[in-house]
Protein backbone atom coordinates (compact mmCIF):
# COMPACT_ATOMS: atom_id res chain seq x y z
CA UNK A 1 0.00 0.00 0.00
CA UNK A 2 1.43 3.33 -1.02
CA UNK A 3 1.54 5.84 1.82
CA UNK A 4 -0.79 8.71 1.20
CA UNK A 5 -0.97 12.14 2.72
CA UNK A 6 -4.06 13.04 4.77
CA UNK A 7 -5.25 15.25 1.94
CA UNK A 8 -4.90 12.45 -0.59
CA UNK A 9 -6.80 10.13 1.73
CA UNK A 10 -9.55 12.70 2.09
CA UNK A 11 -9.90 13.11 -1.67
CA UNK A 12 -9.93 9.37 -2.21
CA UNK A 13 -12.54 8.88 0.47
CA UNK A 14 -14.78 11.55 -1.02
CA UNK A 15 -14.40 9.96 -4.44
CA UNK A 16 -15.70 6.68 -3.11
CA UNK A 17 -12.63 4.80 -1.91
CA UNK A 18 -13.79 2.74 1.08
CA UNK A 19 -10.27 1.72 2.00
CA UNK A 20 -9.34 5.37 2.36
CA UNK A 21 -12.24 5.74 4.76
CA UNK A 22 -10.98 2.82 6.83
CA UNK A 23 -7.55 4.45 7.07
CA UNK A 24 -9.03 7.79 8.10
CA UNK A 25 -11.21 6.04 10.64
CA UNK A 26 -8.29 4.13 12.15
CA UNK A 27 -6.30 7.34 12.50
CA UNK A 28 -8.99 9.65 13.78
CA UNK A 29 -11.63 7.60 15.58
CA UNK A 30 -9.61 7.26 18.81
CA UNK A 31 -8.95 11.00 18.76
CA UNK A 32 -12.56 11.75 18.02
CA UNK A 33 -13.68 9.47 20.80
CA UNK A 34 -11.24 11.07 23.24
CA UNK A 35 -12.54 14.47 22.30
CA UNK A 36 -16.16 13.41 22.71
CA UNK A 37 -15.61 11.65 26.01
CA UNK A 38 -13.75 14.61 27.51
CA UNK A 39 -16.39 17.02 26.31
CA UNK A 40 -19.48 15.08 27.37
CA UNK A 41 -17.86 13.01 30.13
CA UNK A 42 -19.83 9.91 29.29
CA UNK A 43 -18.41 6.93 27.51
CA UNK A 44 -21.57 5.54 25.94
CA UNK A 45 -22.64 8.99 24.82
CA UNK A 46 -19.17 9.61 23.42
CA UNK A 47 -19.34 6.37 21.44
CA UNK A 48 -22.73 7.33 20.05
CA UNK A 49 -21.50 10.79 19.15
CA UNK A 50 -18.41 9.41 17.43
CA UNK A 51 -20.53 6.93 15.48
CA UNK A 52 -22.95 9.64 14.43
CA UNK A 53 -20.02 11.81 13.43
CA UNK A 54 -18.78 9.12 11.06
CA UNK A 55 -22.23 8.54 9.65
CA UNK A 56 -22.46 12.22 8.81
CA UNK A 57 -18.92 12.17 7.48
CA UNK A 58 -19.90 9.42 5.05
CA UNK A 59 -22.81 11.63 4.06
CA UNK A 60 -20.27 14.23 2.91
CA UNK A 61 -19.63 11.98 -0.06
CA UNK A 62 -22.89 13.04 -1.61
CA UNK A 63 -21.75 16.62 -1.82
CA UNK A 64 -20.43 18.11 -4.99
CA UNK A 65 -16.79 17.77 -5.75
CA UNK A 66 -14.75 20.56 -4.24
CA UNK A 67 -17.40 21.55 -1.72
CA UNK A 68 -15.51 19.72 1.05
CA UNK A 69 -12.19 21.52 1.29
CA UNK A 70 -11.15 20.54 4.80
CA UNK A 71 -12.47 17.08 5.57
CA UNK A 72 -10.80 16.75 8.98
CA UNK A 73 -12.02 20.15 10.08
CA UNK A 74 -15.49 19.19 8.97
CA UNK A 75 -15.31 15.91 10.91
CA UNK A 76 -14.25 17.83 13.99
CA UNK A 77 -17.01 20.42 13.55
CA UNK A 78 -19.61 17.66 13.25
CA UNK A 79 -18.36 16.14 16.51
CA UNK A 80 -18.26 19.57 18.13
CA UNK A 81 -21.85 20.39 17.16
CA UNK A 82 -23.05 17.00 18.31
CA UNK A 83 -21.24 17.48 21.63
CA UNK A 84 -22.73 20.94 22.08
CA UNK A 85 -26.21 19.63 21.30
CA UNK A 86 -25.72 16.89 23.83
CA UNK A 87 -24.42 19.30 26.49
CA UNK A 88 -27.39 21.54 25.86
CA UNK A 89 -29.80 18.70 26.45
CA UNK A 90 -27.58 17.52 29.31
CA UNK A 91 -28.07 20.78 31.18
CA UNK A 92 -31.79 20.28 31.00
CA UNK A 93 -31.49 16.92 32.71
CA UNK A 94 -28.46 17.71 34.81
CA UNK A 95 -29.93 16.53 38.08
CA UNK A 96 -30.64 13.08 36.76
CA UNK A 97 -27.15 12.76 35.22
CA UNK A 98 -25.46 13.87 38.42
CA UNK A 99 -27.46 11.35 40.33
CA UNK A 100 -26.47 8.64 37.87
CA UNK A 101 -22.79 9.61 38.10
CA UNK A 102 -22.97 9.54 41.86
CA UNK A 103 -24.61 6.13 41.70
CA UNK A 104 -21.89 4.94 39.33
CA UNK A 105 -19.21 6.13 41.77
CA UNK A 106 -20.90 4.39 44.61
CA UNK A 107 -21.08 1.08 42.81
CA UNK A 108 -17.45 1.44 41.76
CA UNK A 109 -18.04 1.87 38.06
CA UNK A 110 -16.01 5.04 37.82
CA UNK A 111 -12.24 4.95 37.99
CA UNK A 112 -10.81 6.14 41.28
CA UNK A 113 -8.71 9.29 40.94
CA UNK A 114 -6.38 11.02 43.35
CA UNK A 115 -7.49 14.32 44.96
CA UNK A 116 -4.96 16.18 42.82
CA UNK A 117 -6.31 14.64 39.63
CA UNK A 118 -9.86 15.41 40.62
CA UNK A 119 -8.77 18.95 41.34
CA UNK A 120 -7.31 19.36 37.83
CA UNK A 121 -10.33 17.77 36.14
CA UNK A 122 -12.70 19.95 38.08
CA UNK A 123 -10.70 22.99 37.01
CA UNK A 124 -10.83 21.79 33.42
CA UNK A 125 -14.61 21.62 33.55
CA UNK A 126 -14.71 25.18 34.81
CA UNK A 127 -13.04 26.48 31.66
CA UNK A 128 -15.10 27.95 28.86
CA UNK A 129 -16.02 25.62 26.02
CA UNK A 130 -13.42 27.11 23.64
CA UNK A 131 -10.59 26.86 26.14
CA UNK A 132 -11.52 23.36 27.20
CA UNK A 133 -11.88 22.29 23.60
CA UNK A 134 -8.42 23.57 22.68
CA UNK A 135 -6.83 21.75 25.59
CA UNK A 136 -8.75 18.55 24.89
CA UNK A 137 -7.92 18.56 21.18
CA UNK A 138 -4.23 19.07 21.93
CA UNK A 139 -3.81 16.98 25.04
CA UNK A 140 -6.33 14.15 24.68
CA UNK A 141 -6.84 13.92 20.93
CA UNK A 142 -3.19 14.54 20.19
CA UNK A 143 -3.62 17.15 17.50
CA UNK A 144 -0.87 19.66 17.01
CA UNK A 145 -1.68 23.33 17.21
CA UNK A 146 -1.21 23.56 13.46
CA UNK A 147 -3.75 20.77 12.93
CA UNK A 148 -6.20 22.40 15.32
CA UNK A 149 -5.75 25.68 13.51
CA UNK A 150 -6.50 23.98 10.20
CA UNK A 151 -9.54 22.25 11.63
CA UNK A 152 -10.89 25.45 13.12
CA UNK A 153 -10.00 27.52 10.12
CA UNK A 154 -7.76 29.84 12.11
CA UNK A 155 -4.09 30.74 12.07
CA UNK A 156 -1.67 28.62 14.13
CA UNK A 157 -0.65 31.75 16.02
CA UNK A 158 -4.24 32.41 17.07
CA UNK A 159 -4.64 28.84 18.26
CA UNK A 160 -1.32 28.96 20.08
CA UNK A 161 -2.41 32.16 21.83
CA UNK A 162 -5.76 30.62 22.74
CA UNK A 163 -4.04 27.50 24.05
CA UNK A 164 -1.66 29.60 26.14
CA UNK A 165 -4.52 31.57 27.68
CA UNK A 166 -6.47 28.37 28.29
CA UNK A 167 -3.50 26.75 29.98
CA UNK A 168 -2.82 29.83 32.07
CA UNK A 169 -6.45 29.93 33.16
CA UNK A 170 -6.36 26.26 34.06
CA UNK A 171 -3.11 26.76 35.92
CA UNK A 172 -4.58 29.64 37.87
CA UNK A 173 -7.63 27.60 38.79
CA UNK A 174 -5.52 24.69 39.94
CA UNK A 175 -3.09 26.97 41.73
CA UNK A 176 -6.00 28.60 43.48
CA UNK A 177 -7.24 25.24 44.62
CA UNK A 178 -3.75 24.29 45.73
CA UNK A 179 -3.39 27.52 47.68
CA UNK A 180 -6.79 26.98 49.26
CA UNK A 181 -5.86 23.46 50.14
CA UNK A 182 -2.48 24.50 51.48
CA UNK A 183 -4.14 27.33 53.35
CA UNK A 184 -6.60 24.92 54.83
CA UNK A 185 -3.82 22.56 55.75
CA UNK A 186 -1.84 25.44 57.24
CA UNK A 187 -4.82 26.56 59.20
CA UNK A 188 -5.45 23.04 60.29
CA UNK A 189 -1.83 22.57 61.27
CA UNK A 190 -1.71 25.97 62.98
CA UNK A 191 -4.94 25.25 64.75
CA UNK A 192 -3.75 21.94 65.93
CA UNK A 193 -0.53 23.55 67.18
CA UNK A 194 -2.44 26.37 68.86
CA UNK A 195 -4.87 24.05 70.59
CA UNK A 196 -2.89 20.99 71.62
CA UNK A 197 -4.88 20.62 74.80
CA UNK A 198 -8.10 20.03 72.91
CA UNK A 199 -6.71 16.97 71.23
CA UNK A 200 -5.44 15.69 74.43
CA UNK A 201 -8.65 16.51 76.09
CA UNK A 202 -10.68 14.84 73.31
Amino acid sequence: MIAMTPDELAVRFLEGDDHAFEMIFAEHNPRLFAYCIKMVKDRSVAEDLAQETWVRTIGLRTRERGSVENLYGMIYRIARNLSLDHLKSYRESKRIDIDLQELERRIGGAEQKSPEEEMVLRALEKLSFDYRETIVLHTYSGYSYEEIAEMLGKSPEAIWARASRARKKLRQLVAEEIRQEEGALTLLTKGSKDQPGRHHAG
Binding site: F13, L14, E15, G16, D17, D18, F21, E22, F25, A26, N29, P30, F33, A34, I37, R43, E47, A50, Q51, W54, V55, I58, G59, R61, T62, R63, E64, R65, V68, E111, E116, E117, M119, V120, L121, T139, Y140, W160, A161, S164, R165, R167, K168, L170, R171, Q172, V174, A175, E176, I178, R179
Partner: protein, 238 residues
Protein backbone atom coordinates in the same frame (compact mmCIF):
# COMPACT_ATOMS: atom_id res chain seq x y z
CA UNK B 1 1.32 38.27 24.97
CA UNK B 2 2.25 38.12 28.65
CA UNK B 3 0.32 34.91 29.06
CA UNK B 4 2.05 33.38 26.07
CA UNK B 5 5.50 34.45 27.28
CA UNK B 6 4.79 33.19 30.76
CA UNK B 7 3.42 29.95 29.35
CA UNK B 8 6.52 29.53 27.23
CA UNK B 9 8.73 30.15 30.26
CA UNK B 10 6.89 27.70 32.51
CA UNK B 11 6.66 25.07 29.77
CA UNK B 12 10.32 25.50 28.98
CA UNK B 13 11.27 25.28 32.63
CA UNK B 14 9.27 22.09 33.18
CA UNK B 15 10.47 20.61 29.89
CA UNK B 16 14.06 21.46 30.76
CA UNK B 17 14.52 23.33 27.50
CA UNK B 18 15.24 26.72 29.03
CA UNK B 19 18.86 27.95 29.13
CA UNK B 20 20.44 27.42 32.57
CA UNK B 21 20.48 31.14 33.35
CA UNK B 22 16.75 31.47 32.57
CA UNK B 23 15.92 28.38 34.63
CA UNK B 24 17.85 29.78 37.63
CA UNK B 25 16.04 33.10 37.20
CA UNK B 26 12.65 31.38 37.36
CA UNK B 27 13.63 29.50 40.49
CA UNK B 28 14.79 32.74 42.10
CA UNK B 29 11.50 34.46 41.20
CA UNK B 30 9.40 31.53 42.43
CA UNK B 31 11.19 31.57 45.77
CA UNK B 32 10.05 35.15 46.32
CA UNK B 33 6.63 34.91 44.57
CA UNK B 34 4.16 32.44 46.12
CA UNK B 35 1.77 32.93 43.17
CA UNK B 36 4.41 31.91 40.65
CA UNK B 37 5.46 29.04 42.82
CA UNK B 38 1.83 27.88 42.99
CA UNK B 39 1.52 28.10 39.23
CA UNK B 40 4.65 26.04 38.74
CA UNK B 41 3.30 23.42 41.07
CA UNK B 42 -0.12 23.58 39.39
CA UNK B 43 1.46 23.06 36.00
CA UNK B 44 3.31 20.02 37.25
CA UNK B 45 0.07 18.64 38.67
CA UNK B 46 -1.81 19.31 35.44
CA UNK B 47 0.83 17.54 33.39
CA UNK B 48 0.84 14.48 35.59
CA UNK B 49 -2.94 14.37 35.62
CA UNK B 50 -3.22 14.66 31.88
CA UNK B 51 -0.65 11.95 31.32
CA UNK B 52 -2.52 9.52 33.57
CA UNK B 53 -5.91 10.58 32.26
CA UNK B 54 -4.95 10.12 28.63
CA UNK B 55 -3.49 6.71 29.44
CA UNK B 56 -6.70 5.81 31.25
CA UNK B 57 -8.91 6.72 28.32
CA UNK B 58 -11.05 3.78 27.30
CA UNK B 59 -9.95 2.24 24.06
CA UNK B 60 -12.22 2.42 21.10
CA UNK B 61 -12.58 0.84 17.72
CA UNK B 62 -9.99 1.50 15.07
CA UNK B 63 -12.08 -0.24 12.43
CA UNK B 64 -15.46 0.94 11.19
CA UNK B 65 -18.47 -0.97 12.44
CA UNK B 66 -20.64 -3.05 10.14
CA UNK B 67 -23.23 -0.32 10.20
CA UNK B 68 -20.70 2.22 8.95
CA UNK B 69 -19.51 -0.14 6.21
CA UNK B 70 -23.11 -0.68 5.15
CA UNK B 71 -23.59 3.06 5.08
CA UNK B 72 -20.45 3.34 2.97
CA UNK B 73 -21.78 0.73 0.57
CA UNK B 74 -24.96 2.69 -0.09
CA UNK B 75 -23.06 5.98 -0.35
CA UNK B 76 -20.68 5.37 -3.22
CA UNK B 77 -19.67 8.99 -3.39
CA UNK B 78 -21.44 11.48 -5.56
CA UNK B 79 -18.19 13.30 -6.00
CA UNK B 80 -16.73 10.12 -7.31
CA UNK B 81 -19.85 9.54 -9.31
CA UNK B 82 -19.56 13.03 -10.70
CA UNK B 83 -15.97 12.31 -11.55
CA UNK B 84 -16.98 9.07 -13.19
CA UNK B 85 -19.79 10.85 -14.99
CA UNK B 86 -17.40 13.55 -16.10
CA UNK B 87 -14.96 10.92 -17.29
CA UNK B 88 -17.75 9.09 -19.02
CA UNK B 89 -19.02 12.21 -20.71
CA UNK B 90 -15.56 13.25 -21.81
CA UNK B 91 -14.85 9.72 -22.98
CA UNK B 92 -18.15 9.70 -24.77
CA UNK B 93 -17.45 13.02 -26.41
CA UNK B 94 -13.97 11.95 -27.40
CA UNK B 95 -15.33 8.63 -28.55
CA UNK B 96 -17.98 10.36 -30.58
CA UNK B 97 -15.44 12.68 -32.14
CA UNK B 98 -12.86 10.03 -32.84
CA UNK B 99 -15.48 7.41 -33.53
CA UNK B 100 -17.18 9.66 -36.03
CA UNK B 101 -13.84 10.51 -37.52
CA UNK B 102 -12.97 6.86 -37.78
CA UNK B 103 -16.37 6.10 -39.19
CA UNK B 104 -16.05 8.86 -41.73
CA UNK B 105 -12.60 7.62 -42.64
CA UNK B 106 -13.90 4.11 -43.18
CA UNK B 107 -16.83 5.36 -45.19
CA UNK B 108 -14.52 7.57 -47.23
CA UNK B 109 -12.16 4.68 -47.92
CA UNK B 110 -15.04 2.43 -48.90
CA UNK B 111 -16.38 5.19 -51.10
CA UNK B 112 -13.03 5.67 -52.79
CA UNK B 113 -12.71 1.94 -53.36
CA UNK B 114 -16.20 1.94 -54.78
CA UNK B 115 -15.36 4.83 -57.07
CA UNK B 116 -12.21 3.14 -58.32
CA UNK B 117 -13.99 -0.15 -58.85
CA UNK B 118 -16.90 1.59 -60.46
CA UNK B 119 -14.62 3.49 -62.81
CA UNK B 120 -12.74 0.33 -63.68
CA UNK B 121 -15.92 -1.64 -64.31
CA UNK B 122 -17.32 1.21 -66.34
CA UNK B 123 -14.21 1.25 -68.47
CA UNK B 124 -14.31 -2.49 -68.87
CA UNK B 125 -17.94 -2.41 -69.75
CA UNK B 126 -17.54 0.41 -72.18
CA UNK B 127 -15.13 -1.62 -74.25
CA UNK B 128 -17.52 -4.55 -74.61
CA UNK B 129 -20.89 -2.84 -74.58
CA UNK B 130 -22.51 -2.40 -78.03
CA UNK B 131 -23.95 0.87 -79.11
CA UNK B 132 -27.50 1.21 -77.95
CA UNK B 133 -29.97 2.57 -80.36
CA UNK B 134 -33.18 4.34 -79.57
CA UNK B 135 -34.79 3.65 -82.89
CA UNK B 136 -37.21 0.79 -83.26
CA UNK B 137 -35.55 -2.49 -84.11
CA UNK B 138 -36.68 -5.69 -85.60
CA UNK B 139 -37.04 -8.98 -83.84
CA UNK B 140 -36.39 -12.06 -85.78
CA UNK B 141 -38.35 -15.11 -84.85
CA UNK B 142 -36.55 -18.06 -86.17
CA UNK B 143 -38.68 -21.07 -86.36
CA UNK B 144 -36.45 -23.07 -88.57
CA UNK B 145 -35.00 -22.22 -91.82
CA UNK B 146 -36.94 -19.07 -92.54
CA UNK B 147 -37.07 -16.60 -89.65
CA UNK B 148 -39.86 -14.18 -89.19
CA UNK B 149 -38.77 -10.62 -88.70
CA UNK B 150 -40.98 -8.59 -86.40
CA UNK B 151 -40.40 -4.91 -85.69
CA UNK B 152 -40.39 -4.28 -81.92
CA UNK B 153 -39.02 -1.69 -79.54
CA UNK B 154 -35.67 -2.53 -77.93
CA UNK B 155 -37.18 -3.47 -74.61
CA UNK B 156 -35.26 -6.06 -72.65
CA UNK B 157 -37.24 -9.23 -72.51
CA UNK B 158 -36.79 -11.52 -69.51
CA UNK B 159 -35.86 -14.99 -70.45
CA UNK B 160 -38.90 -16.46 -68.77
CA UNK B 161 -41.14 -14.40 -71.01
CA UNK B 162 -39.56 -15.33 -74.27
CA UNK B 163 -41.87 -18.22 -74.76
CA UNK B 164 -45.59 -17.94 -74.97
CA UNK B 165 -47.46 -14.69 -74.67
CA UNK B 166 -44.78 -12.24 -75.78
CA UNK B 167 -43.98 -14.33 -78.76
CA UNK B 168 -47.63 -14.58 -79.56
CA UNK B 169 -47.98 -10.84 -79.31
CA UNK B 170 -45.06 -10.38 -81.64
CA UNK B 171 -46.53 -12.77 -84.06
CA UNK B 172 -49.94 -11.23 -83.79
CA UNK B 173 -48.56 -7.88 -84.75
CA UNK B 174 -47.70 -9.29 -88.05
CA UNK B 175 -50.27 -8.69 -90.76
CA UNK B 176 -50.81 -12.35 -91.42
CA UNK B 177 -52.92 -13.45 -94.26
CA UNK B 178 -54.94 -15.90 -92.27
CA UNK B 179 -55.11 -13.77 -89.25
CA UNK B 180 -58.40 -15.12 -88.06
CA UNK B 181 -57.12 -18.64 -88.02
CA UNK B 182 -53.86 -17.61 -86.39
CA UNK B 183 -55.68 -15.91 -83.57
CA UNK B 184 -57.51 -19.06 -82.73
CA UNK B 185 -54.42 -21.22 -82.55
CA UNK B 186 -51.67 -21.47 -79.97
CA UNK B 187 -48.09 -20.33 -80.34
CA UNK B 188 -46.81 -23.39 -82.06
CA UNK B 189 -49.57 -23.26 -84.53
CA UNK B 190 -48.78 -19.61 -85.05
CA UNK B 191 -45.20 -20.49 -85.67
CA UNK B 192 -46.26 -23.09 -88.14
CA UNK B 193 -48.55 -20.63 -89.78
CA UNK B 194 -45.89 -17.99 -89.84
CA UNK B 195 -43.29 -20.14 -91.40
CA UNK B 196 -45.57 -21.34 -94.09
CA UNK B 197 -44.42 -19.71 -97.35
CA UNK B 198 -47.93 -19.27 -98.54
CA UNK B 199 -48.79 -17.14 -95.53
CA UNK B 200 -46.07 -14.57 -96.05
CA UNK B 201 -46.90 -11.35 -97.72
CA UNK B 202 -44.61 -9.38 -99.92
CA UNK B 203 -43.30 -7.14 -97.17
CA UNK B 204 -42.34 -10.09 -95.07
CA UNK B 205 -40.56 -11.67 -97.92
CA UNK B 206 -38.70 -8.46 -98.49
CA UNK B 207 -37.64 -8.26 -94.90
CA UNK B 208 -36.51 -11.86 -94.91
CA UNK B 209 -34.56 -11.20 -97.96
CA UNK B 210 -32.95 -8.15 -96.48
CA UNK B 211 -32.02 -10.11 -93.39
CA UNK B 212 -30.42 -12.77 -95.42
CA UNK B 213 -28.41 -10.16 -97.26
CA UNK B 214 -27.33 -8.67 -94.01
CA UNK B 215 -26.21 -12.01 -92.72
CA UNK B 216 -24.25 -12.54 -95.82
CA UNK B 217 -22.51 -9.23 -95.26
CA UNK B 218 -21.95 -10.31 -91.63
CA UNK B 219 -23.30 -7.18 -90.15
CA UNK B 220 -22.96 -6.92 -86.38
CA UNK B 221 -25.98 -7.81 -84.40
CA UNK B 222 -26.97 -7.49 -80.76
CA UNK B 223 -26.75 -10.54 -78.51
CA UNK B 224 -29.22 -13.26 -79.18
CA UNK B 225 -31.79 -14.38 -76.66
CA UNK B 226 -32.64 -17.98 -77.01
CA UNK B 227 -35.52 -19.97 -75.66
CA UNK B 228 -34.93 -23.27 -73.96
CA UNK B 229 -38.02 -25.31 -74.52
CA UNK B 230 -38.04 -25.24 -78.27
CA UNK B 231 -36.09 -24.01 -81.19
CA UNK B 232 -37.47 -20.54 -80.85
CA UNK B 233 -34.75 -17.93 -81.15
CA UNK B 234 -35.25 -14.25 -80.88
CA UNK B 235 -32.64 -12.06 -82.38
CA UNK B 236 -32.83 -8.37 -81.95
CA UNK B 237 -31.23 -6.78 -84.89
CA UNK B 238 -30.19 -3.18 -84.60
Amino acid sequence: MAAEREHDMIEGYLDGTLPPESAREIERLAANDPELAAELKAEETIRGTFLRDVAALPSTATEPSGMLMAKLAVTPGAAGGAALLSTGVSTGVLGTIFGTGLGLTVVTIIGLIGLVLGAWLFAENAEERPIERETPTESVVETGASPLIVPVLPVPVPSDKIEGRNLRQSVERRPLRNRSSAKSQDVEENQVVAEAPENRDAATDAMIQRLQQAEEKKEPSIPTMQGTSSTITIEVDP
